[in-house]
């Protein structure tokens, strides 16, 4: 079982949350090229190691947050950051 630390609700079973995906900055729609959009939409780093990712607490506080997970050991290293505090949408 994967326990995800939600910044509002505390540790929760991953089944109570939704995995949104790798967290990356969204390109500026006014200046991004087609290649940049394609990379943002479809290309994933998928590393064996630390990954910055977005989660959604669907059963609890219904907030998006970002945290870092080791994809090899499933350990979360840094405390989660609410997306609202990052100033950008996931």
């Amino acid at each position: 079982m994967l326990i995800v630390p939600c910044p509002n609700c505390g540790p929760r079973n991953a089944a109570d949350l939704r995995y949104v995906g790798e967290s990356r900055p969204r390109p500026d729609p006014n200046s991004a090229s087609a290649k940049e959009w394609r990379a943002y939409l479809y290309e994933r780093a998928n590393p064996a190691g630390m990954l910055r990712e977005t989660w959604y607490c669907r059963s609890g506080c219904r907030r998006y947050f970002v945290l870092e997970r080791d994809t090899v050991s499933n350990e979360f290293t840094n405390p989660p950051t609410p997306v609202a505090k990052l100033g950008k949408r996931p």
Binding site: N8, R12, N13, A15, D16, S59, G60, C61, R63
Partner: protein
Amino acid sequence: MAESPAFESPVSTPYVSYGGVPIEPSGPGSPLTLQDHSSTTKFIVRAGSETNAFRQLSTPFATSRTEDGVLIAGQRPDEWFLVGREQAVRALAGRLDRTGHVSLIDGTHGRAMFRLTGAGSALVLEKLCGLDWNDHMTPDGAAVSGSVAKVTCDIVRNDLDGVPSYLISCDRSFGQYLFDVILDAGQEFGIQPL
């Protein structure tokens, strides 16, 4: 806000558990009971942290308190559940400053609500939900949201005269299923519907 039409409970009688076992209703003296409270007036308030309504409600996330007979539960960082008699809930809602990002929804007909009462009520919830129902994690007054039998529910611990009691609410369409599942899970603890 218009007057609510006549209420129709999502839970039908006679009571039958999810496993198909017929269960007879009992009196209020039973050690573990499940009661349908769906007809209780339920308002949902959403208010941004910069609004006056946010300050008026003054109930932090994951806690609850009672004001003028209305239970105010902080279910999410900017969302509250008001539960109580219709007149009292409407009066409290009417006093809220609606300036800014504030919304008020009458959830009486859209939400089912049950009260699970008894010393063994936490044991029943532990069978259905992954949250920690120990006294030090969810004391009297705690308000949490989580999955109960795979249904997203808002749960408020609201003890009655020192006896552990939980108000469990979910979307109306899941009401009958959730009621039956709780009866099923509580059978080994002698649960009876009221």
